[in-house]
């Protein structure tokens, strides 16, 4: 198991002190992982979204009892699975048991399944954001593009990226930030 990221630990601590905005960032960070996980149990997209919401709400309520013995995501993962199983039991459906462990990183593209109950506006906006981000990445200077792709898509640490790109860690941090800023400027108008 990887150690708890400092960012997660700090956010958890703030949530335990009553800061709901800190929980917002934890949800944002892990929402897709949790949704994909739940869709392995609950196949219906809108049902899965409800179960995911329920799982996060349960986690929020249980946060005062979270001692940090495990990483936040590991804890959240268990809550999500239990919530999904309970949902199926309540709906009198047999839970389908998948052998999934917490290290599971197998890509599982469920995003297309989540479109059923969505509005056309929502579909258009997410597609526009996707396209804008892809174009913005393509327009980046090579060094910035490489740094952000290695981070976001390969999940490399700054240190690993520094080794790969043969530059200091501080340079990696700066390149990733500048890449995000450049992309942010492009998607900003879509989010306003």
């Amino acid at each position: 198991m990887s150690p708890e990221p400092n960012s997660d630990a700090a956010l958890v601590k703030r949530v335990q002190q009553g800061d709901r905005k800190a929980f917002d960032l934890l949800v944002l960070k892990y929402q897709h992982k949790i949704q994909k996980l739940i869709m392995r149990y609950v196949r219906d997209p809108s049902e899965a979204l409800d179960v995911a919401q329920d799982a996060f709400l349960k986690a929020y309520r249980a946060m005062p009892r979270f001692r940090g013995d495990s990483a936040f995501y590991t804890w959240m993962y268990r809550i999500a699975i239990n919530t999904a199983k309970n949902h199926l039991v309540a709906a009198k459906r047999r839970p389908v048991d998948f052998e999934i462990d917490t290290q599971d990183n197998e890509p599982f593209d469920a995003s297309h399944l989540l479109s059923d109950g969505d509005t056309p506006e929502g579909l258009v906006l997410s597609e526009e954001i996707n396209q804008t981000v892809q174009q913005a990445i393509a327009d980046l200077p090579p060094d910035l593009r490489t740094a952000i792709v290695l981070r976001e898509m390969e999940g490399m640490s700054y240190e690993e990226i520094a080794q790969t790109m043969e530059c200091p860690v501080g340079t990696v941090r700066s390149r990733i930030f500048r890449a995000r800023e450049a992309i942010d400027r492009k998607i900003g108008p879509l989010l306003d």
Binding site: S2, P5, N6, S7, D8, A9, L11, Q17, G18, D19, R20, K21, A22, D24, L25, V27, Q31, H32, K33, I34, Q35, L49, Q53, L57, A71, T74, Q103, N105, P107, D109, S111, G122, L123, L125, S126, I129, N130, V133, Q134, I137, A138, P142, V149, E152, M153, E154, G155, S157, Y158, E160, Q163, T164, M165, R173, S174, I176, F177, R180, I183, D184
Partner: protein, 222 residues
């Protein structure tokens, strides 16, 4: 939000700030909406890049609305059961007042003769009528944090900025590279054709051989 803070937010969502820096930044995120929004957008960019962006209202928004709805009756209940405003604001003042009364009585007691005894006795009676909870390290930290959150105590912005700027150079605040997870080979293969990456020759060769995507058990924290 200045560029320095934005850069810290960027490193924060990657889990690349030290523990001390992270704690300082999350305090800032609670009160600085621009920083919080930047964190949200940076996370969104990551989701879009990985093709995770689902259409429609985001789960985070749904959860936030549900929590708000849950909190509203609780807040109303608290408002109904207690006087308006935060009743704890006077505690430090009251504590100071009791301490001042005791100190004054002690001084007068030392200076005066027979009258001093009376004053001291009165002061002791006054002091005894108050019950001041012992201040522990935890309660002091919680109070300070509470005051910080409510804006009673202005955040030490300059100190925070200084610590954050110099954190990576200080031993006790030394940065820790936590996120070392690498996505599986299949994910690496999936993106290989999408973007042209510029790498130093040797490293590019390693990457092409797929060694950078070797089996790594560490979970990826996005």
């Amino acid at each position: 939000m200045n560029e320095q803070v934005a850069s810290q937010v960027s490193a924060f969502i990657d889990g690349e700030l030290s523990e001390a820096e992270s704690e300082l930044l999350v305090r800032r995120l609670a009160s600085d909406q621009a920083s919080h929004d930047a964190a949200r957008r940076y996370l969104l960019i990551g989701h879009a890049l990985r093709g995770d962006l689902a259409p429609g209202p985001g789960l985070a928004d749904r959860v936030a609305r549900a929590l708000e709805a849950e909190a509203a009756p609780e807040a109303a209940e608290q408002a109904g059961g207690a006087p308006a405003g935060d009743s704890r604001w006077w505690r430090p003042v009251a504590g100071t007042g009791v301490a001042a009364a005791v100190a004054l009585a002690a001084v007068l007691g030392l200076q005066g003769g027979g009258a001093g005894d009376g004053v001291t006795a009165d002061a002791e009676a006054t002091a005894a009528s108050y019950t001041v909870a012992p201040v522990t390290r935890e309660s002091a930290a919680a109070d300070a944090d509470d005051m910080f959150t409510r804006g009673v105590m202005p955040p030490p912005v300059r100190l925070t900025n200084y610590l954050m700027s110099h954190g990576e150079y200080a031993g006790s605040l030394g940065r820790k590279s936590i996120q070392s997870g690498i996505v599986g080979t299949s994910a690496a293969q999936a993106i290989s054709g999408r973007f042209e990456l510029t790498l130093p020759p040797a490293a590019a060769g390693d990457d092409a051989d797929g060694e950078a995507s070797a089996d790594d058990a560490a979970p990826r924290a996005e």
